[in-house]
Symmetry: C2
Subunit: 371 residues, 2 copies
């Protein structure tokens, strides 16, 4: 019996949501090349697109924005739970999972889930910083309101556009482990909150949701472009893994890195610390050159984490909120996959091979007759 413990090469679903071509470095989101969609759409449009297959009409978009805006408040016990999480120091992904689980108290719907994720993440971010949560504002869009709840003030349009672009870029990416988790849970006939809470658990894992924080730490550690070569050479020579480079699927440049690099450039140019952007670019260029020198043919390219870190840092987010903010985006993809699974469902139940002992008896084990 062949055991395929990573399920590599096994095709577990047909999907209209996204297509990842790792050899060509392409990502399609519901028909759009990722850059084409990410740089233009609002997150409400992207979410609608994933759930319905086409962009909304102006009337549909207005109604959808209003529906999301009206559903942002958290169930009553959620804020108290987040306070308790902050008090005992629970990690932000666990806190998000715990609070997201309570959405069942008020709704089982897709809109409620997507609407409440930013409220949870922003509230927890503020509580971790010793500040009070800021209630959502219904007159702001999804991305703008998230920044408002994080900072307590309305963000400038460049920052909002930067966040929209980020949210659109990472919203879906084939059958990654969290998306697959959402589909497995849905395949039993379970509900959307259960699917999303399970997916959050998978995204938390360092092999999946990753750690965009360390990529930025490396840039800060280098500090000045003139030191990039020396620091990176020492890291690579000592066998340290360079954070922000290399990907299991992409063998060429991750197309999301380009989109996020452009978004970061625009945002830092108009509303941020341009020297940090230039430093990050210099670090990237040097890292790619040294990786090719030390590991020729390994095709280690800049991945999505490198510019995620730069962009989200520029938006004023603490590194502890990077993965939860990833979830604020990806939840729309999870739900899109769950809806797709519901429409053409078959329970997902692979097999295992038993490699343990057989024919054990209780009397042998316990040495006493049983009556």
């Amino acid at each position: 019996m062949v055991i395929n413990s990573g399920l590599e090469g096994v095709v577990a679903a047909a999907t209209r949501l996204s297509h990842v071509d790792g050899e060509r470095g392409e990502l399609i989101i519901a028909g759009y090349p990722v850059g084409e969609l990410a740089e233009h759409a609002t997150f409400e449009e992207t979410t609608w697109l994933l759930w319905h297959g086409d962009l909304p009409s102006p009337g549909e978009l207005d109604a959808f924005r209003a529906e999301l805006a009206a559903a942002r408040a958290l169930p009553h016990p959620a804020i108290a739970l987040l306070r308790e999480c902050a008090r005992v120091g629970v990690g932000p992904m666990d806190a998000l999972r715990i609070a997201a689980g309570t959405i069942s108290l008020v709704s089982t719907g897709a809109v409620a889930i997507v609407a409440k994720f930013p409220t949870i993440v922003a509230a927890y971010g503020r509580l971790l910083g010793g500040a009070e949560p800021v209630p959502p504002r219904a007159d702001l869009g999804h991305a703008a309101n998230f920044l408002y709840m994080l900072n307590g003030e309305v963000a400038d349009p460049e920052r909002v556009r930067g966040l929209e672009t980020y949210l659109n870029t990472v919203v879906d990416h084939g059958l990654n482990a969290s998306t697959f988790t959402a589909r497995v849970i849905t395949s039993t006939g379970s509900d959307l909150v259960s699917a999303v809470v399970g997916a959050l658990g998978a995204l938390k894992g360092p092999l999946h949701g990753g750690a965009p924080g360390p990529a930025l730490d490396m840039v800060f550690e280098i500090g000045d472009a003139s030191r990039a070569e020396e620091v990176l050479r020492r890291k690579i020579a000592s066998g340290e893994k360079l954070m922000g480079f290399g990907h299991r699927v992409y063998k060429v440049r991750d197309p999301r890195a380009d989109v996020l690099a452009r978004a970061a450039e625009r945002m830092y140019t108009r509303a941020g610390d341009m020297s940090l952007y230039r430093l990050a670019r210099a670090v990237e260029t040097t890292a790619l050159r040294l990786l090719e020198e030390y590991k020729p043919g390994r095709r280690l390219q800049t991945n999505v984490e490198f510019y995620t870190a730069l962009l989200l840092h520029g938006l004023g987010l603490d590194a502890t909120l990077f993965t939860p903010t990833f979830a604020v985006s990806r939840v729309s993809g999870w739900i899109g996959h769950a809806l797709e699974q519901q429409r053409a469902n078959r329970i997902i139940r692979p097999q295992s091979e038993y490699i343990g002992p057989r024919d054990r008896t209780w009397i042998e084990a316990r040495g006493v007759p049983q009556f």
Copy 2:
């Protein structure tokens, strides 16, 4: 590209935990035929066996029982959350998932999770019935304490033995959807609470955790053995599915049905309503005869749900608690699989085939140039 949306026949893990042979009607739990283990072991012994591969020594067992007993209390916000769940009428599986999620506030350990599941289920069962939760007692075993927390009084040994046997019988069953969910989440490097909470979401689905309640409803509807043939014949002839019969894997009698039938017989003989047991037996015999008459060759046999319902009803459990009580057992299996996955890990990431459109452009869709 071949799409295997149910992953049937795909072997996704090697395991020492359990082996299901559907053609021969055999279930092995860590080397023991299910009946051999289930009728003798305490649930603490079974849990240790699944996590360590062998039964505990007397000293290990004492220490493990004490450790579990000391970890039964819930985190402070959990009872408040369960009250809120009961107030708004959240289903018992959602309530269990919500409360289980808060275990991260106090622990990430396997023992804490298994220890707290019965406390959550019993507390919610009482709250749904308008009663106050009963705090756990550390001087009782895992099964005995669960019955104590459900009913507020110490159960007689026959009932405790009946529950131990049930918990041992359903503790693990190959790579079912919830167990697979726990392994996928664990494969990202995530934690046990995340894995278990995801698995609960999968178990909730009617295609998996099932509905042992309706099997018993059918017995009550028949009411008297003399009516069994008439009622069942009408149901089958009208195309109604007989609850408690048929299984995706087992083509002969589910070995768990035998174990639970014997446990139910012993328990009802000494501590229950023997007429209900006899009625259930008569219903089963008639159902099997009629299923063979109407659907020859379909090999529809009694499944685990039929005697689960009879046994748990005899233990005084309301039907709404049947699936949560299943989880009280299966959580030990989930954790055993998660530990096994941690020891030989590879991230579980199947592929999808993209069947959507390509090369869409924003301008085409929106009809306006973008700047």
